[in-house]
Amino acid sequence: MSTDVGIWVGALMTIAVFSYLFSENEFYKAVEHIYVGAAAGYSIVLGFSNVVTKGWQPLVEGRQFQVLIPVAMGLMLFAPYAGTQYNWMRRIPISFIVGIGAGITIRSVVIEQFVKQLSATILPFNSVNNVIIVLGTLAVLSYFFFTFKPSRALKTSAEVGKWIIMITFGASFGNAVMGRISLLIGRIDFMFREWIHLIKL
């Protein structure tokens, strides 16, 4: 068996998590709360590091006083603590983040998810696979037309699209299950190899 404290902690935590499969118990609940606390703490540390590198250092070392604007916006999030009459102030930082997010979404989605996917779909009809990809994509797209009453041809195309969507969901489901199983194998491998040294290969 391993003599490493870290491996013991990791193994006991793993057993506690899997004990939920038997029934919810105190051991599981304790580990669940420890995990949430540690993960929250980790996020706080990352956030603090961002404040230091993008706020404190530019302000103190670089004399970039424009950094005070996002700091002021950040502090506005705490305004409701000063009284309900200041509730409206938190809308400003929220609207700033949402505006930046919406702008970045349009930037990335238009090129990566729309133009590139469309151009990758325009394939020559020189193989059965290419025909399935092109017609399959068009059929699924036709299924998503909800703005007008579909014609008979569109209905037929949408029906084919439904079949393709079902195959896609089945494949995604299979992939998701296999991804989780590989994680499970990883945990079992850790327990038997690194903790109790039963697997020696």
Binding site: F78, F169, G174
Partner: protein, 207 residues
């Protein structure tokens, strides 16, 4: 003013990010980078607010001697231990690395791994080949699962090839169409937010 200023901030921030990307206007690139840094900074303050709320919630549990008081204590202890280790000793410190390697990583993997049992249980209850399309979903799922496991090759050597074909051809067509459709949806939602039509994020509803 309380209503208009947030909408103006959203519109200006959004349009600035779009203009910078699609037009080569001098000075805009640096401005956009600066705005992104500002957003990260504001998000860090939002994270601090969330941490305060989480701590306050669990402190209330402890002071009120709630039935989950012990669990709340464990959560706060692990949160403060991680914060102290990371902020005062640095992210390279042994204590912080220990927490990440031996608590966050194994627990995260175990929680995700456990989902495969829930997926199997849900699939057993939900998957019924009651129609041709439901059967297509079921059969594709089984082929992909078996084809991606070593046992698939033992059952039939054609099974892994079939799984690969399903992933690379019909699945590709479906995923591509879903990506294009969701892209159109995302562009629409973003434009509604930037133009101030959608104000739900500000708690103002739509107009």
């Amino acid at each position: 003013m309380k209503r208009e200023v947030p909408i103006i901030v959203t519109t200006v921030a959004g349009i600035f990010m779009i203009l910078e990307y699609f037009h080569n206007i001098p000075g805009l690139a640096n401005g956009a980078k600066e705005l992104q840094n500002w957003a990260i900074l504001v998000a860090a303050f939002a994270l601090a607010l969330a941490a305060i709320n989480l701590a306050a919630r669990h402190l209330r549990n402890i002071t009120a001697r709630h039935q989950n008081a012990v669990h709340s204590g464990l959560l706060l202890a692990s949160m403060f231990a991680t914060v102290i280790a990371g902020i005062f000793f640095g992210t390279d410190a042994r204590a912080f690395v220990f927490i990440f390697d031996n608590i966050i990583t194994p627990c995260g993997s175990a929680f995700y791994a456990m989902a495969c049992f829930h997926l199997a249980s849900a699939a057993y209850r939900a998957f019924r080949a009651q129609s041709g399309q439901a059967a297509a979903l079921l059969i594709t799922g089984i082929i992909v699962m078996l084809g991606r496991a070593p046992i698939g090759d033992l059952i039939h050597p054609y099974l892994p090839k079939m799984a690969t074909w399903l992933m690379q051809v019909p699945n590709l067509a479906g995923m591509r169409a879903i990506m294009i459709s969701s892209a159109i949806g995302m562009i629409g939602v973003s434009l509604r937010i930037i133009t101030g039509i959608d104000r739900t994020h500000l708690g103002m509803g739509q107009e």
